[in-house]
Symmetry: D2
Subunit: 324 residues, 4 copies
């Protein structure tokens, strides 16, 4: 038995090449000038019906990291970890003495939560490139009142469909990918062939790099804002051409960092989200799901991942559910 083949090597892209790819994959106007959901249009009644047939065992896997002060945020930027506060709790019953232990009493709580502090969807309005978000919207569309267009809330009714888990450490026979390692088109092609799963229209592709598992075990360190393994530009193009609706990963930025293009910090965001209109998910916890998929050999499932309906939000926390 031979060791599994490793990932294809990183590639270098010039800014011009990235721009050319972005234009090639751009879907602006494809669903009209007012469109706000882009590749979510590939999620159709037909793909949803098909996805439902993937519920074969009846087991569900929540894919969110706990939202609490042990999260990966460092407290050095505005994205602090979620601050969960109790507005009324059991200690208040005790403070009331015997009266507190009679009859009905309730507890209550609140949270101060940067919307991208944990497991999240980016909204299209989260990323501007040359002053525009998806479908050519300008800066004036995202103000203190929130986003008037391209908010993540627009995606709610397109947030169920087929999910496909691409478990990269298992593909290459390692525990985890290393920061800077890029997932290329040929890697996805090989994974697809190996598993007999065609990635296609309306899918949400979940890329597991093992990076979250590693940092969770070792201490978060630079998990947020640091180098990370992730999707490379050729991989992004491969997915966009197959008309996927969304791509999510177990890293803070989904794409490989540092990026493959020296002058653009997040070129995959530019290509996929700003131009192709493919939604991006980050900090998804794919470990339990991945273990199950490895065991039953079935990497596809019904994925239900609605954003929280915060009006005008440029990102959204969520608890995605994979149902097999």
């Amino acid at each position: 038995m031979t060791a599994p083949e490793d990932l294809a090597p990183r590639r270098d892209w010039t800014t011009d090449e990235v721009h050319a790819l972005a234009l090639e994959l751009r879907t602006w106007g494809d669903w009209g000038p007012d469109d706000e959901i882009g590749a979510a249009h590939w999620t159709t009644p037909e793909t949803v019906r098909h996805a439902a047939t993937l519920v074969r065992r009846g087991v569900a896997f929540p894919l969110a990291l706990p939202l609490d002060r042990t999260g990966p945020q460092t407290g050095r930027t505005a994205r602090v970890n979620p601050q969960h506060v109790m507005l009324r709790h059991g200690g208040d019953l005790l403070a009331d003495g015997e009266a507190g232990l009679r009859g009905m009493r309730s507890t209550d709580d609140a949270v101060y939560l940067p919307l991208q502090a944990g497991t999240q969807w980016d909204a299209f309005c989260h990323i501007f490139y040359d002053g525009q978000t998806y479908n050519g919207r300008g800066p004036e569309t995202v103000t203190s009142a929130g986003a008037s267009v391209n908010s993540i809330t627009r995606m709610a009714d397109r947030s169920a469909g087929r999910g496909v888990l691409v478990d990269l450490p298992r593909l290459v026979g390692r525990e985890h990918l290393e920061p800077g390692e890029a997932v290329q088109d040929s890697d996805l092609e090989r994974w697809s062939a190996q598993h007999g799963v065609e990635i296609g229209a309306g899918d949400t592709v979940l890329l597991r790099t093992g990076h979250l598992a590693r940092r969770r075990a070792e201490g978060w360190g630079d998990y947020v804002a640091g180098p990370a393994p992730g999707l490379g530009l050729s991989g992004a193009a491969w997915l966009a051409r197959r008309r996927v609706s969304a791509v999510a990963a177990d890293t803070w930025g989904m794409e490989v960092l540092p990026s493959e293009c020296p002058d653009i910090s997040h070129p995959v965001h530019v290509v996929l989200m700003v131009n192709a209109g493919v939604r991006i998910g980050e900090i998804w916890d794919l470990d339990d799901l991945a273990a199950d998929c490895a065991e039953d050999g079935v990497p596809e499932f019904l994925l239900v991942a609605p954003p929280l309906p915060i009006t005008g939000a440029v990102g959204s926390p969520l608890n995605p559910l994979a149902i097999k």
Copy 2:
């Protein structure tokens, strides 16, 4: 053609009768002393598989009210409406002049959010009766650190299953129920017979009273904390006996208010949640789903409703998705 039959009248319950019903329906210990999910156990792989077969058309209905300052909260209690704040937005690009319109820029946001301000799940630890939450947990289990047991986050992997919409205004041929009107066992029986749908183990029952639609149109007024139509005690018993996993409604308290028992403000919470271990959802927006169900005549569907994974939370905002 005759007018539809109206709801059965309100009934009066003594405190002793409520206590007796609570004890009868109590499931404490049925799944061991450490159990934290109660009737969610009736959600099984089998019920999930069946629920998935209800996806016949491939359309999804988000059931959450928008989370923003136009919500139903009055600002007079700690449950203010969600405070969505931008941490960085399009105006910041403009403030940077030409540089702001070149290359990649991102926006970011946060929210201060009382967890039960909008569409929500109550956690079992949300309600104490005589000093105990579900399965006999005392006040010391819910402190400033959050809930150590019975948090809503425990439910995440049991949050997909069959949903059944009981549209009460359409049952009785009116626009909406009136505050104080109680949904009784016989009403549910009649609805069930009329639609040929058996409510049963693992279901989440969605009760539409029309009260949210009315208050949304007229101004929220006392929608939160005021009188409301909702589930009566006989109806609660009927549902618990059929082993439903959860009940949600389009009102702030799910149950009829003022309650049918003069000495207990929310007796249905006591019976269903504290004793039977049936999860309760509130302020769900069921109007679009109800219109669709009226049109296609199919009031059952796959319902996916995971809580946000806020560690120790006593309630959770969510965007439930009904998929037909």
Copy 3:
């Protein structure tokens, strides 16, 4: 004995007249192009020393409204009342049983606080007129990062000096002024003559209208954002010409509302703050101080009113202290 003379009547100002007054009183550049404190320059070591001599009895009056959920905000805008939350409290000791009552334990708390929800200073950067704040700063100086110039924090070392209380209800022999009543130059002149107090350089003038006392007693209603008595344009000019450093009042907007100029909602803000560089305070609770001043006949005192040092803040809560 004759009844006291009433206030001079409201006047009408055209937009051009307001503009002319603003230009006349403009102090832009008077302390250099980089100046951020304007008329606070009139607060000098000499005025501070003199103010300290006004401490004759040794009694202090805090002038802030309590910051809590009973405050005047309505919850309909982003300025919700302060949300004070406990992070750890006495009930947590009780939840720990006997151990909680042994040794040292601490409590902790936090607040979500719109900075102008209660007793406050406006910063110069709070008001733009024709795209500029005091000393000609443009919109790019106030971004998501806060104010880079003209923040209220710049005033901290100029926040002690003479305070003068002008108690208007007592001047006119009524309980309170009515919404829409304007305090004019002649009213201030008369008050000054009557009390033998020259208002002058470096003073902070506290205008009591009685409106806060009235709304506090009757229910806040439209106290915030509604019509109110307050400073008229002639009064503003009179104060600016005397080189006061700041003006504060017991209303939400300090100036008379509706304003005396149909096309400018807050012309006194434009004249005093944007142009003359006179700092404005709002929602100050002057009632106890006023009662004391009426009793001892001394309406001048040492006033110490530093802003909270929130970097880049465009307003600041504070607890001003008047020391007599």
Copy 4:
């Protein structure tokens, strides 16, 4: 010329000795069973009048650290650094194009602020010892509703008086004290003799250790919650016996840490605050004031330090003002 004498060495205290000292200095009941301000009673009209005479030059020194994300908090506990958010800013004017640059526009902001994140007063209700705060109040007095007694807000009208700066690095001829170094009675005695300043009734004593300056320069590191120089138990007793009203320092805990008593983490809090009723201030920035005092040789001044009036608060941010 000889080098200045160093601080007296640390001492060891047994728990029994700390308890005995606490009982000796206890003032519970001295001002009645309902008293909530303790040694603030030593601040009298006479001491306030005297303090005002210390305003000799007319210069003011704000003593607060900036409240922003660069603060000393680590983000690992509920005490995150202050989260200042803009609710509306200059970028919003730009987003409105030409209209945004015409007429009056305003900006607004808010903050999520743990009350003891920066420069602060501890309230008496902040520290329980054996289940009691000052004057024998039990845990039931501090609940989710805040503190019903012993809140910091009670101190507002006693928050002006004489301040005395004890600059310890300058006393011992070093840049800063080292973590673990304790300020003893004899050190205070020596300082007092050297400066000819009697510390006495109603004073607020400001202890500068140089620790804040050091950590600010070097990176905050363990400034919060770590070892620190500070007041020792003998020093605390010396101050309480002189009837000071308050003690503040430039460290996170004011007292020396680790403490001089192995079984009590913060014995000076227990002695001074819980028993003697002396208010404690922490994280005060005394560097500019200290430089000025060294220059003019006058270490006493009028200190005005009112808490923010957050109802029921167990601590308070503030911007203390020293006026010389």
